[in-house]
């Protein structure tokens, strides 16, 4: 973005009323627009954002119109992989259909051939920006079947997903030629902080579209009258902590000491402070720690849907001897939180929480006025070493982390062979990785709760399966840009050159270099029996573990 373009942007209605003097000298409005925004051009039918994608930016329409599709579009139309279980015959046929050539692809499945396939509706084209776009062919024919609304010049979309790091809830397509201003999450954060009109708009949209439903899903608020939720939402504050692009900072800190890493994590709440409000984790993971001599000892980790400070607030309600927060809360990666102020909680929520209901919520120990006992936390279940290791390396992000008990593993590689057999002869993980207390975290896709690999895929080839939730790659629409592999903090996505059935590399027509594709574990989403690696281990040494299930993790590691 050059200075001239920024000046013209500042003259548009979206920015002309923004008071530039409110921005700090180190973050001037001009600088925010220059560094954190980009002009994007799309043509008729181009998919701008896809439902289910994780995006790190919002879009302001500078010229033209876009269509917001309110119903879900078929995966094929979005260029996504459609996962269907194999039939029994299809499964058996892998015995003779598996190719002996590594990473072989039939040419018909190749991206470059996609446009020639009569049945395909999602296609890739290189737009004016020399960037590949997935576009929907014959938009006018497809769209009448789906309910949609049109947004025009000056309107903003994608801001909730960008700020809350939540999946996009709708698909947006270009209706004719469109020029958009793409605002990165950093820019959006600054605009929200220093431009009241932007803050008012974003907060209003956020409360309308996301906050009410999130509050309704929170167990401790489940006894509230549904009519009371909007009032509560109006008084709820929301904040984000950490870096959206946390992979980079995580990789930089790889060689740092445990103490340095903890200190780098943004502090959300400090041990010893008065509990100002109930903190609800909306997305991301947080570290619960307590001061131990000159350092901080990790007690547990909390993920989406968990809350912090509830026991202290319950204890303090009407108690003449209030207690402060017993733990500190730090953001691991990017965290989106909601805060219900203590006074609001006491006035609105507390009357609905009877002793019986608190018992149902597993909070019997936190009855108002009762002494708060030290909870049985993850460190006593897992062991301090294991817990620190899992949190420091951010393996807690995994919903299907591959753990191998090295005290039971006979190194027979049956798991690797099974993986290869179910993936056309190509294993999709490496039986290697860091080891703690004889538990190895193998190099296999963890199907993360916060999938940073999904941010920035230009064609949406990497996506979360809409039914089973695994992260999968559509080989046909993957253009081999390596964005996902670079973003994966755990190096679990591998770029491979593809070959034809004869073993020769398939070359790009223009550059004459081998075409590469992103590959990773797909959790055997198409196999009848589930993950082959787990099923193939004769010694029960291998498990795919949802790291948010601390009870299972501790039982499995201590069996």
């Amino acid at each position: 973005m050059n200075d001239q373009r920024v000046e013209s942007l500042l003259a548009t209605p979206a920015f002309s009323k923004v008071d530039a003097s409110r921005f700090p000298p180190q973050l001037p409005l001009h600088g925010v627009l220059k560094n954190d925004t980009k002009i994007r051009s799309f043509e008729e039918g181009d998919i701008i954002v896809r439902e289910g994608d994780y995006g790190n930016s919002a879009f302001l329409i500078l010229s033209g119109k876009v269509k917001v599709v309110l119903n879900s579009l078929p995966a094929r139309l979005l260029g996504r992989r459609t996962s269907e279980k194999k039939t029994l015959f299809g499964s058996i046929a892998q015995l003779w259909r598996n190719c002996k050539v590594p990473e072989a692809r039939s040419l018909a499945a190749n991206t470059l051939e996609l446009e020639n396939r009569a049945t395909a509706q999602a296609k890739i084209r290189v737009g004016r920006e020399s960037r590949p776009h997935v576009f929907v062919q014959d938009l006018s024919h497809v769209m009448p079947a789906h309910h949609s609304v049109t947004l025009a010049e000056g309107e903003l979309f994608g801001e909730i997903a960008a700020i809350g790091r939540t999946p996009r809830t709708t698909t947006v397509l270009a209706e004719g030629d469109v020029e958009l201003l793409e605002i990165r999450w950093q820019g959006l954060r600054e605009l929200r902080l220093f431009a009241p009109a932007w803050k008012e708009h974003i907060d209003r949209v956020y409360r309308q579209r996301a906050l009410n439903s999130h509050l309704r899903e929170t167990p401790v608020l489940s006894y509230l009258d549904p009519d009371a939720i909007p009032g509560l939402a109006a008084q709820t504050q929301f904040e984000t902590f950490g870096n959206f692009d946390w992979t980079t900072s995580f990789q930089k800190l790889a060689s740092a000491s445990g103490r340095e890493r903890v200190e780098q994590e943004p502090l959300i709440a400090r041990e010893g402070d008065y509990p100002n409000g109930l903190i609800l984790i909306r997305s991301g993971n947080v570290r619960l720690s307590t001061t131990y001599n000159h350092g901080e000892r990790t007690i547990s980790y909390l993920g989406k849907g968990r809350c912090f400070g509830l026991e202290e607030i319950l204890h303090n309600a009407g108690n003449p001897t209030p207690i402060p927060l017993r733990h500190s809360l730090r953001a691991i990666g990017y965290v989106d939180i909601l805060v219900i102020p203590t006074a609001v909680f006491e006035a609105v929520v507390l009357p609905t929480l009877t002793a019986e209901r608190l018992k149902d919520l597993g909070l019997a120990a936190a009855l108002p006025g009762k002494t708060v006992e030290a909870p049985v936390e993850a460190d006593s279940k897992l062991g301090a070493d294991m817990l620190e290791f899992m949190v420091e390396n951010r393996f807690i992000n995994g919903a299907a982390t591959m753990l191998i008990d090295m005290d039971r593993c006979t190194r027979c590689d049956d798991c690797v062979r099974a993986c290869a057999s179910t993936h056309d002869g190509n294993p999709r993980f490496i039986r290697q990785g860091p080891v703690v207390d004889s538990i190895m975290v193998a190099n296999a896709c963890m199907h993360c709760i916060d999938p940073v690999c999904m941010i920035g895929c230009p064609t949406g080839a990497i996506s979360r399966d809409s039914i089973q939730g695994q992260i999968v790659i559509n080989d046909s629409t993957c253009i081999g840009c390596s964005t996902c592999a670079t973003s994966c903090p755990y190096q679990n996505i591998h770029m491979v050159p593809i070959r034809d059935m004869g073993g020769s590399f398939i070359l790009d027509e223009k550059t004459r270099t081998p075409i590469i594709k992103a590959t990773k574990c797909d959790f055997c989403i198409e196999q009848l029996g589930g993950p082959a690696c787990v099923n193939a281990c004769p010694h029960d040494a291998l498990a795919r573990v949802d790291m948010s299930d601390v009870d299972f993790l501790s039982e499995w590691t201590r069996r």
């Binding site: 090295m406 006979t410 080891v435 589930g530 099923n535 004769p538 949802d546």
Partner: protein
């Protein structure tokens, strides 16, 4: 999450109880057949052969990971406990005495070999993995030759650095006279896994003795060298342990195939002479 993955003790008790019941039932059934003057050997032999074939299917299951045939660990449990039942059935079938015919003697030897190799294999799979883990860094078996080469390159770089930086030949002489041979040495097929390694102890002892000739820089390099010597010990442990874990299968599986073939021949001959077909 599957609780079967965490409750291994409960699973063991279940299989033990089922096996014990099956063993009692087998003994009773064999006794009844004898008392009733029925062809007990024919019945026990047929059942034994069926069990042996069923046990061999475990290996076939490994070749079909894409089919929903339950977990391989369940198959292994079946393999282990039914294996014990097969041993009991073998003795019931043979009448607890050594067979007289040539073929049956060969068959008995092969059966015992398969059974014993199975028990040894089971013991190895329970004993070695933990020791491999405690030995040091987990290494992939196929990469061991490459890692051995890496260690040698790293050690040679250290020795070159010592020669250049300390103007002393102590470490260089140590390398040529002792260390090079140790690094190139590979444990034999019958090497004891994880025991005291005399070669490692000797080389470390020699390096310690040389300490009196080192200057401070050499002492630093010697400490680094010691780490590589320990890495070599781990490499040898990994090689011996992982090789043993693979080797017993190379004995157990071919012997099992022979057993199935010999059993078939034995069964056909037995039927030929008892039923006259």
């Amino acid at each position: 999450m599957d609780k079967a993955l965490t409750n291994l003790g409960g699973r063991r008790v279940f299989w033990c109880l089922v096996s014990a019941c099956a063993a009692v039932a087998l003994i009773l059934a064999a006794s009844v057949l004898c008392v009733a003057l029925l062809p007990a050997a024919l019945w026990t032999g047929t059942l034994l052969y069926a069990l042996v074939v069923a046990l061999a299917l475990f290996n076939a299951r490994k070749k079909l990971p894409f089919l929903p045939l339950t977990r391989a660990s369940t198959w292994l449990q079946f393999h282990v406990y039914v294996g014990w039942l097969a041993v009991l059935l073998f003795f019931l079938h043979a009448g607890f005495h050594w067979p007289h015919g040539r073929l049956t003697q060969v068959l008995a030897v092969v059966f015992m070999f398969v059974a014993i190799s199975g028990v040894v294999g089971l013991a190895l799979t329970r004993w070695i993995p933990g020791r491999l883990t405690r030995s040091g860094e987990a290494l992939t078996y196929e990469r061991i030759p490459e890692i051995r080469g890496d260690i040698r390159v790293k050690v040679e770089a250290l020795i070159t650095a010592a020669d250049r930086e300390s103007e002393s030949s102590t470490l260089g002489d140590f390398y040529l006279n002792h260390l090079l041979e140790y690094i190139n040495w590979r444990p034999g097929i019958l090497a004891t896994p994880f025991g005291d390694q005399p070669r490692h102890r000797e080389i470390v002892g020699t390096l310690s003795t040389l300490d009196r000739y080192f200057n401070p820089r050499e002492r630093e390099l010697a400490a680094e060298l010691r780490e590589w010597i320990d890495a070599k010990r781990n490499l040898d442990n990994q090689l011996v342990g992982q090789r043993l874990l693979k080797l017993w299968l190379f004995l157990h599986i071919p012997a099992s195939c022979s057993l199935i073939l010999l059993g078939l021949v034995h069964g056909l001959i037995a039927l030929r002479y008892t039923r006259g077909f």
